[in-house]
């Protein structure tokens, strides 16, 4: 329709004009600074959410049910969100997979968090956060999804908290009358299996075939032995999420079998393969210079030096931390690849997986 577009535009322009006018009343602040005091979850506010329930899953994992603000756009099962929480007063951002169904009547979402040793945010979310806490959110993101139409035959290979994005898909598939699904999941013991009861129930109902590997008694999940557990591997579309070693092994085996395009993996941590020489990092917008030893990420270096660093998953997937590299050289901690930039190149880098490979200048 030809009339729709101009009308939307003029509405947007009018809205913008009114906002600019309102700013004259609130300068040096903006109207939202005052509205946030009244309703932080209102539509038009920076996206936030309120924790409305906390359900324990295992001894070291919980599910947080979050009511997102009115700006929430919804998600595709398998995607993650970036969540910002204040731990000991310090804003920390992390990414967690969504585990909720997409059609909850209360419009809430849920994430499931497993405490990892020394994990600042995971331990806070598992053991300390309380119902009612307001958290910062970002819209859902991520490519670890089934696509449409969903493949007929599926294999999920997961370990530990790697089950979380998969649970998000399984819960939503159940409604769609899913196809032929096999889940191979590895955890230390039966009690450590996050969503253990629910998975076993799905298996009992014949909705999935579940293979549990309890590493305390069965030993580690052997990627090479998957063929013994699942007889039609080659026919299945495989999605895997878990520790780096497992994913690397799967990729090697699937590639060797010529099935690389049948495998999709989701990584939770960066694999550090290469460290550089390090160098002085100049955060030119802030005017702070700090030394980076070549093994630490620029994100960590900046945060330690007091620079206001944007951040997200801290593992190189969400791009919440990207910043322009004005000049200098950085090394990708995962691949060892060196990126260089000169002034005006417009190169942006992910600070969470980049270390200095010489002196560099980051525009933050």
């Amino acid at each position: 329709m030809t009339t729709t577009a101009p009308r939307t535009n003029s509405t947007a322009t009018l809205r913008q004009r009114m906002l600019t006018f309102a700013e004259r009343f609130t300068t040096p602040l903006v109207p939202s600074d005052y509205l946030d005091v009244i309703d932080p979850l209102r539509s038009g506010a920076a996206l936030r959410g309120r924790i409305v329930a906390i359900h324990p899953e295992t001894r070291d994992a919980v599910t947080l049910v979050i009511k997102p603000g009115r700006g929430w756009h919804g998600h595709v099962p398998g995607q993650y969100i970036r969540i910002g929480v204040d731990v000991d007063g310090v804003r920390q951002w992390r990414a967690y997979s969504l585990t909720s169904t997409t059609d909850r009547p209360d419009d809430c979402i849920s994430i499931t968090v497993k405490a990892i040793p020394d994990g600042t945010v995971s331990n806070y979310l598992v053991r300390r956060v309380t119902v009612g806490t307001v958290v910062q959110l970002d819209q859902a993101a991520g490519e670890f999804t089934l696509g449409t139409p969903a493949p007929a035959k599926l294999l999920f290979v997961t370990a530990g908290s790697g089950i979380t994005p998969v649970m998000g898909m399984l819960r939503n598939m159940r409604r769609g009358g899913a196809s032929d699904v096999v889940v191979v999941h590895s955890a230390p013991t039966a009690a450590d299996v996050i969503f253990g009861d629910e998975l076993r129930m799905l298996a009992a109902q014949g909705l999935i075939k579940l293979v549990e590997i309890h590493t305390d008694t069965d030993g580690m999940l052997d990627a090479g032995g998957l063929g013994d557990l699942v007889d039609d591997l080659a026919e299945r579309h495989t999605l895997a999420c878990g520790p780096v070693g497992l994913l690397d092994a799967l990729e090697t085996i699937w590639a060797a079998a010529g099935l690389a395009d049948h495998l999709y993996t989701e990584r939770f941590r960066p694999t550090v393969v290469a460290t550089g020489d390090g160098g002085a990092v100049s955060f030119s917008a802030t005017g702070i210079t700090a030394d980076n030893d070549g093994t630490q990420s620029l994100l960590d270096t900046g945060e330690a030096a007091g620079v206001l660093m944007p951040s997200g998953c801290r593992m190189g997937i969400c791009f919440g931390c990207v910043a322009p590299l004005r000049q200098g050289a950085v090394r990708d901690l995962r691949t060892g690849a060196v990126t260089t930039a000169a002034e005006g190149d417009g190169v942006v880098i992910q600070t969470c997986v980049s270390a200095a490979a010489g002196p560099c200048d980051v525009e933050l």
């Binding site: 009343f25 005091v37 007063g89 804003r91 206001l308 660093m309």
Partner: protein, 367 residues
């Protein structure tokens, strides 16, 4: 020519170089203790203050919509004055010092904060954080010392121009926010041709734009919004701005002008060690004693000594470390200058009157 004032040297001659470094180490230990304890409680504190200030401002401006009624004018003006003072002092000044940067909250950060004051954050941070806090009370380096228009130390040579300084200080107090803005522009240096012209013009534009925005808000838009109460809202807003100006001017005068506060020669800071830097801050600042409410309303600048020693520690910690800092002064035989607000304000004004006249003028007159 006036002889160099030797007082600061006299006051510290009993300290050896080793003493001064030990003193520095003791103060570093106090700082480390605060850094280790900094956390959730502090974050909750500053968020609560910001939240309360914004609610107070909204309420006060709301009440002023009906400022035609005298009780509404009084309540609204008091509320808005208090709100502006808190916004400038406990929030703005301290946030822009980076006291809350550790929270990594982009909304409460020195690099993003802008305050309800004529001086733009960027300019103020340079002249205040970089110049004043680095060169505290160093003659010819610290422009805060008399704001470039007043004589606040015997070490500044007297000229007849200083005769009017009691008057110029009073005028500066009433229009303090504009005084600060023009001072941050370094107009004095510009007139002497020591500042790049284009640079100065660009900064001047920013200041004027900000002054225009704020004046439009307080003297045009909010009065118009008040309809029949337009005129009374305008007077209320003007009153609140002046009250804020007078209060902040008084508090800031108490920080470095009262009797007992030392000034330093340029040469004395060459090759200064960390211990010596601390010592200069200790001797160059003065506190104000009083109630918790008074400390809060000064943005904890009543703990000027603690603030100058540790400008980037969260302001709510100054009160708790003050006894420890005072104990350090005692151990090293130094004077911790402090007094109630009226006494300190009177002391600062007395100095301004005294130094408006040539040295020993009063003595020679009585001889």
């Amino acid at each position: 020519m006036t002889a160099l004032h030797e007082a600061p040297v006299d006051l510290t001659t009993h300290l050896t170089a080793a003493d001064i470094e030990n003193l520095g180490a003791e103060l570093d230990a106090i700082r480390d203790e605060v850094l280790a304890s900094r956390g959730e409680r502090d974050a909750a504190y500053i968020r609560k203050v910001i939240d309360a200030q914004r609610k107070l401002e909204l309420t006060s401006r709301g009440i002023l919509l009906f400022s035609l009624f005298p009780p509404a004018w009084i309540a609204g003006t008091v509320g808005l004055s208090v709100s502006k003072i808190i916004e400038n002092m406990e929030i703005g000044h301290n946030v822009m010092h980076g006291q809350w940067d550790w929270m990594r909250d982009p909304k409460i950060h020195s690099t993003t904060w802008e305050w309800d004051n004529a001086s733009p954050a960027e300019l103020w941070k340079h002249s205040h954080n970089e110049l004043h806090h680095t060169y505290t009370n160093v003659l010819g380096k610290d422009n805060d010392l008399g704001y470039g228009i007043m004589r606040v130390s015997e070490d500044q040579r007297w000229t007849p121009l200083y005769l009017v300084q009691p008057l110029s200080n009073a005028v500066n107090a009433v229009f303090f926010q504009y005084g600060i803005a023009f001072y941050d522009l370094q107009i004095g240096k510009y007139l002497k041709g020591r500042v790049d012209k284009d640079d100065f013009k660009a900064r001047g534009k920013k200041v004027l734009a900000k002054i225009r925005r704020h004046a439009t808000r307080d003297y045009l838009l909010h009065p118009l919004l008040s309809g029949p109460s337009a005129l009374t809202t305008l007077t209320a807003n003007a009153t609140a701005n002046v009250v804020r100006n007078l209060w902040t001017h008084s508090v800031i005068m108490c920080g470095h002008f009262p009797e007992g506060v030392q000034t330093f020669a340029k040469s004395s800071i060459e090759g200064e060690t960390r211990g010596e830097w601390y010592l200069r801050q200790m001797l160059g600042s003065a506190n104000i004693s009083g109630s918790r409410a008074m400390h809060f309303m000064t943005g904890n600048l009543s703990y000027q000594i603690e603030h100058h020693l540790f400008p980037d520690l969260p302001s709510n910690h100054y009160q708790e470390i003050a006894p420890k800092v005072e104990a350090v002064f005692e151990r090293y035989g130094l004077t911790y200058t402090t007094g109630p607000l009226p006494k300190q304000v009177a002391s600062a004004w007395k100095k301004i009157f005294r130094l408006s006249l040539p040295d020993n003028f009063l003595n020679s007159a009585s001889n």
